[in-house]
């Protein structure tokens, strides 16, 4: 039973991290807000918005680890797995790249708060080993990719797979919507920091969202499909 749970939790991360696959090092930071891009005020704001979730995650990890010390090892492997997928040079469908909201689906089993920790560690590694994103913008990036994405994925999966009993559709939607929500949140973050001269925040949001939609919408769909594909494989063996 324990083995099964471990396996299925890992499996979910695997699925979620699929779109990491579409994230090539060359263009991979399309959705990682770069170092220094946000003004000081907004950097601090997003750090402050992210940290409570992070601490919630730490608390629940501590609770699990007390019971099962090896859980730490499992989380570490899961994080490394996610990071490696994101770092592989693999051409994607659209020729563009994705971003790591995929942590979202891991939340289905670990719970979204654990993913807030794991996802932000993956982001930190991307910053330190690949120079994707940055330190001052880590709060903003983590908020969109390690908090909102997982929460959306968790909610969607619970609703569709739990209430409606449609597991595969649930997984597809969870992966795709987690991806989309991350991209929308990033657009909001940018719009808030840089309101348009004409039309203000709303206009700015429309512009940022419009630009990134070119790559992010097809990605969200293909990621949903790939996640289901890998899910099927994992189920079969």
């Amino acid at each position: 039973m324990k083995g099964r749970r471990t396996r299925s939790s890992f499996l979910l991360i695997a699925g979620l991290m699929i779109y990491f696959l579409l994230n090539t090092p060359e263009t991979g930071h399309a959705m990682h807000i770069m170092e220094g891009y946000l003004p000081v005020g907004w950097s601090l704001f997003w750090w402050a918005a992210f940290l409570p979730f992070f601490f919630l995650g730490l608390r629940s990890i501590r609770r699990i680890v007390k019971e099962r010390p090896e859980f730490k090892l499992l989380l570490g492997v899961a994080g490394a797995f996610a990071f490696v997928l994101s770092a592989l040079k693999i051409p994607s469908v659209t020729g563009s790249s994705s971003h790591p909201t995929g942590t979202g689906l891991g939340s289905i089993l670990f719970g979204p708060w654990v993913m807030a920790v794991l996802g932000s560690l993956v982001l930190l590694f991307q910053a330190l080993l690949l120079a994707h994103g940055g330190l001052t913008t880590l709060g903003a990036n983590a908020f969109s990719m390690a908090v909102v994405g997982p929460v959306v994925a968790y909610g969607v999966y619970r609703l569709v797979a739990g209430r409606l009993g449609k597991q595969k559709i649930g997984i597809f939607l969870a992966a795709a919507l987690a991806d989309l929500s991350t991209y929308l949140v990033t657009s909001v973050q940018l719009a808030l920091a840089f309101p348009a001269a004409s039309g203000g925040i709303a206009a700015s949001f429309a512009k940022f969202a419009g630009i990134f939609a070119l790559t992010q919408v097809p990605l969200a769909i293909s990621e949903g499909l790939l996640t289901v594909l890998v899910w099927n494989w994992l189920q079969a063996y």
Partner: protein, 263 residues
């Protein structure tokens, strides 16, 4: 790229300076980059690049590569920042317009204020990036971890980071070898084949990760694992008067310049 930054950090000429000093310096410079004005930022950028390419002897090609890769984000966002949109009838710009285009009932235009804003943003981002790069290229991950342990970051986090770091390179090697093996067997033919191969690789990598996890758990138990991954670092750091004085004096000088010109 992966592993390159890490390897360069271990081989950097500033490797032996105490990591705490380097971290403080990088963070101080980063804060200054975020709050200062373009003139100071430009000087700071040049100075940090000097630290990276001359003092630390990081190959300039790689430094340029890192900087230009991050610029992709700047470029992608630039249109949204530059181009303003208004309905044709009510268009009465308050700022001076640099260029404009009429399309259907809409006007697309770029203002000089918008250009300035992007210029300021670019200066800040680039400077901040150079400070961040200093940290990347001169402080190896292991030492960042040591500092985190020293300043009391919860062990659950440092443990997780340590395990992740270790597995990243183990799994990366596995993934690379599998990718090569696929190529050697005539894989990666077209787009759909490549995607399928990628899916296979993810699945296989997942299986290997599970096996690794189980093996590691067994061998850690053999090494006396109870509930903790405590380790003790071994470091031979040498302070350098020359670098310390340049860092402190430089930062103070730039701070004074900022106060004098910007204030």
């Amino acid at each position: 790229m992966i592993g390159r930054i890490d390897t360069l950090a271990y081989g950097s000429r500033l490797r032996n300076l105490p990591p705490v000093h380097k971290l403080l310096f990088a963070i101080g410079a980063l804060v200054l980059a975020l709050v200062s004005h373009p003139l100071v930022q430009a000087l700071l950028f040049v100075w940090m690049s000097l630290w990276i390419t001359v003092y630390a002897r990081v190959p300039w090609r790689i430094y340029v590569l890192v900087v230009s890769a991050s610029l992709a984000f700047l470029l992608a966002g630039a249109p949204a920042l530059l181009i303003e949109i208004a309905g044709g009838q009510e268009w009465s710009p308050t700022d001076s317009v640099w260029a404009s285009w009429q399309l259907g009932g809409w006007v697309f235009y770029v203002t000089e204020a918008g250009l300035t804003r992007v210029g300021i943003l670019a200066a800040r981002s680039l400077t901040a990036l150079s400070c961040f790069s200093f940290l990347l290229f001169t402080v190896p991950f292991a030492e960042i971890l040591q500092v985190l342990r020293k300043i009391g970051v919860p062990s659950i986090l440092t443990d997780l980071m340590m395990i992740m770091y270790r597995f990243v390179f183990v799994l990366l090697e596995t993934a690379e070898q599998m990718w090569t093996a696929q190529k050697a067997r005539g894989g990666h033919g077209g787009l759909s084949e490549t995607l399928k191969d990628a899916g296979r690789l993810v699945f296989q990598l997942f299986t290997r990760s599970m096996i690794r996890y189980r093996q590691m758990y067994i061998s850690m138990t053999a090494r006396g694992f109870l509930d903790d991954f405590r380790v003790i670092g071994y470091s031979t750091h040498v302070r350098s008067k020359r670098y310390e004085s340049e860092a402190v004096a430089g930062l103070l000088l730039l701070l004074m310049l900022e106060w004098w010109t910007g204030g």
